[in-house]
């Protein structure tokens, strides 16, 4: 009797997963514990584990296909065994198997934080064309003959379309629902003669799972959490000086001698965690019936990745030194860009930091990562005229830090106290090194 392997629910918010890559093909022997496929959730690309021994007798979906959570992706049985019919989007009533075995439970995932990204070393390409439906398994585009015919008539480029049919096949519906793209230059008589030449590329970009998830989390946060906003100006000179000293001494050392390099982000993360020790009330979350104050700082920070952003979490950040935080952040950023973060590494944040300083943004306010009490928005350190203690106007280095707070959980005073504490630490950064 064949066992069906269903699309696992790999995060709280996951409703569909995209089968990115098959790791086992039909006919391959599989054993309990083998990974059979890679699945892109709304958060990350994860591997799906097989809990049976036997042969993978059927793949119910092709690479690139979106599969609803709970729908079968594969069947494992004995060699030569007939695979059971897979359910479709319109499952037969007889097949509503009530107790399909859920693959290993995975820790719940924090929703994608609606925050700005940490500096990417190279900016993500903005207008990358959406992948062709079958590009992951080759360059051939799978489209029905009818879809091809209609696409040709309408002058549509099939490679810009996402197929909704079995195995990602582009169907008639997909073509009919598509808007003509500027890529296809249809010069048939049906085209309006006086259409102005387009100077920019028109694109219909499919909404990825990640964008859907970001959208959902952001709308949820902005509609449910009443945001208030505070801003404080910090003298950025001491921090810049400290960073220059540290990097000046450490950057050229080999790693085994303690060589490393700190980003502004590393320093602000450390400072943010340190400031929580002084104002623990910032480290709260809205739980509906209760407000929870957390004993540890699980510090999330935004990382921009291709067409989205994720918020990896540094756990127990208040207990970690600058070196530890910097190293951990580097690893997490690298994983994030490779879409290799596990749900666990993105869940359970208690406070979030976002940074747009590297883009020259002087000040801004992020949207609160759902259930956090606050999000910090770090701006660029810019040269500005400031009035010093002698009432002289001098050139200062001004760093503006914004705080968006959830008024259900904390009031303005808590946010203000926290920003004040953060300012003190950043302006005397040696205090956070001890």
């Amino acid at each position: 009797m064949a066992t069906l392997i269903d699309m696992p629910k790999l995060s709280d918010t996951m409703t569909v997963g995209t089968l990115v890559r098959w790791l086992k093909n039909e006919g391959d022997a599989v054993a309990n514990g083998d990974m059979i496929a890679e699945v892109e959730t709304d958060k990350a690309t994860m591997e799906v584990e097989c809990f049976d021994d036997g042969v993978l007798i059927k793949q119910y979906c092709g690479e690139g296909t979106e599969v609803a959570v709970g729908d079968p992706i594969a069947a494992v049985g004995e060699a030569g065994e007939e695979a059971p019919a897979g359910t479709s989007s319109a499952p037969a009533p007889a097949e509503t198997a009530p107790a399909a075995p859920e693959p290993a439970p995975v820790a719940p995932v924090a929703p994608v934080a609606p925050v700005a990204p940490v500096a990417p070393t190279t900016p993500a390409p903005v207008a990358e064309a959406p992948a062709a439906p079958a590009s992951s398994s080759g360059t051939r585009i799978k489209a029905s003959p009818l879809a091809k015919k209609i696409a040709a008539e309408k002058g549509l480029d099939l490679s810009t379309l996402q197929g909704s049919g079995p195995g990602g096949r582009i169907l008639k519906e997909d073509v009919l629902n598509a808007k003509p793209s500027a890529v296809a230059t249809d010069t048939t008589s049906s085209a309006p003669a006086a259409a102005p030449a387009a100077t920019l590329e028109a694109l219909d970009i499919p909404v990825t799972n990640m964008r859907k998830s970001i959208g959902k989390a952001l709308v949820g946060s902005k509609t449910q959490a009443p945001h208030f906003y505070l801003q404080i100006e910090v003298d950025g000179a001491p921090l810049a000086k400290l960073r220059a000293e540290l990097n000046g001494k450490l950057a050229d050392l080999p790693p085994e001698h303690g060589g490393t390099k700190f980003s502004v982000n590393d320093l602000t993360l450390k400072a943010a965690a340190e400031a929580v020790r002084r104002v623990p009330a910032i480290n709260r979350s809205w739980e509906g019936d209760t407000i929870k104050q957390h004993p540890n700082v699980h510090l999330a920070f935004g990382v921009a990745i291709d067409d989205g952003l994720v918020t990896p979490v540094i756990r127990d950040a208040e207990t970690k030194g600058l070196r530890e935080i910097g190293a951990e952040a580097k690893v997490l950023i690298k994983k994030a860009r490779g879409k290799k973060l596990t749900p666990n590494e993105m869940s359970g944040s208690t406070l979030t930091v976002t940074n747009l300083g590297m883009f020259g943004i002087s000040d801004f306010y992020g949207i609160i990562n759902p259930n956090n009490a606050a999000i910090l928005s770090i701006g660029a350190t810019l040269k500005k005229p400031v009035v010093n203690e002698n009432d002289e106007i001098v050139v200062g280095q001004v760093m503006k830090i914004g705080l968006s707070g959830d008024h259900r959980t904390i009031d303005g005073a808590v946010g203000a106290q926290y920003l004040q504490a953060l300012k003190e630490i950043l302006e005397a950064p040696a205090t956070m090194l001890v």
Binding site: A85, S88, S89, A90, A92, P93, A94, S144, P145, L146, A147, K148, K149, G165, P166, G167, R169, L171, K172
Partner: protein, 325 residues
């Protein structure tokens, strides 16, 4: 309109044609005095006598050959096969001689016979009594074959078959003999080679024939109600000549085709129709053509297995859903 059985509809056709044309006669095993093995000819011997209803020896080869010879001289025999499977006993007469007489005589001789009898499984009669050889018949240029799915078609097609000047096989179904449909009292003919759209739809065309067309119609209702798939059901009625136009028009409209038949799949009727669709409606297809046919094995004697071997509603519904991924 009176509700009559499929069996009664065939009998009416035979009765009316015997009365209409003095050359029409019925021959076969037990067709006269015993009223037919499946009682299709019940009462006809009493009514029309020995000249028109002829009990034959138990030799399909002999009485088929006799019918062919008689037809060359102007008689229009209707030959009953107790089971269409028994036509295999007369394969030289029916598939070799009857089919090619017109061609080999340069058009001087034709063979206006009807070969009729049940051709179906599902009745637990074993591998040698359950053949559905419409594909075999259709594979012989010169032969014609129809598979009525209901009483109305059975009567109309039988009359058309008797009046046709070439050998026509009428594939009946023992599971349908007792089923009732509305059949008008006034005379009508169902022309050979004209398919019937049993139900209109927009998302999927099911092409079927014989009893499977009725199963498909029921399945179509479930697909529509439970799955929101609008299904058009095309009942071929006639396998050869084939109504290509109706099939193609329907597939061009829906973009998807499921072919359902009780034939074994290998070189079955639907293999031919599948070819037709891909050849002439390729640019209209939104999905590959799928088939539901008998499972490719000798007819299974165990009844529960046989019930699954030949298409049933569950298999048709599953087959349709598969097209939608």
């Amino acid at each position: 309109m009176p509700l009559i059985t499929y069996r009664e509809a065939i009998k009416q056709a035979l009765d009316e044609e015997i009365q209409r044309d003095e050359n029409v006669c019925i021959m076969g095993e037990e067709v006269a005095q015993y009223n037919g093995a499946y009682k299709v000819t019940e009462g006809l011997w009493e009514k029309h006598g020995d000249k028109r209803l002829i009990d034959t020896p138990i030799s399909e080869a002999a009485f088929s050959g006799m019918a062919i010879g008689a037809s060359m001289l102007g008689i229009r025999p209707v030959v009953e096969m107790m089971f269409m499977s028994f036509s295999y006993v007369a394969i030289d007469q029916l598939f070799n001689n009857a089919s090619f007489c017109r061609y080999m005589s340069g058009g001087l001789m034709n063979v206006p016979i009807v070969v009729r009898g049940p051709a179906n499984g599902g009745t637990n009669v074993g591998a040698t009594h359950s053949h559905t050889p419409e594909n075999m018949v259709a594979n012989h240029p010169g032969l014609k074959v129809v598979c009525p799915s209901n009483a109305y078609d059975a009567k109309g097609l039988m009359k058309a078959a008797i009046r046709d000047n070439d050998p026509v096989f009428v594939m009946e179904n023992t599971l349908l003999y007792g089923e009732k449909w509305e059949v008008p009292e006034e005379e009508y003919i169902v022309e050979l080679g004209v398919a019937n759209i049993l139900k209109e739809g927009t998302d999927l065309t099911i092409v079927s024939h014989g009893r499977c067309a009725m199963l498909s119609l029921e399945a179509a209702k479930t697909l529509e109600e439970a799955h929101g798939i609008s299904v058009e059901v095309v009942d071929l009625r006639s396998i050869r000549p084939l109504d290509e136009e109706t099939i193609l028009n329907s597939v061009k409209k829906t973009g998807r085709a499921l072919l359902v038949e009780e034939n074994k799949p290998y070189c079955g009727v639907d293999a031919q129709i599948s070819h037709l669709i891909q050849l002439k409606a390729f640019d209209y297809l939104d999905a590959p053509v799928h088939r539901v046919s008998a499972i490719d094995a000798p007819q299974i004697y165990a009844k529960p297995l046989e019930d699954w071997q030949i298409p049933n509603q569950e298999r048709i519904i599953a087959g349709a859903l598969k097209i939608f991924g």
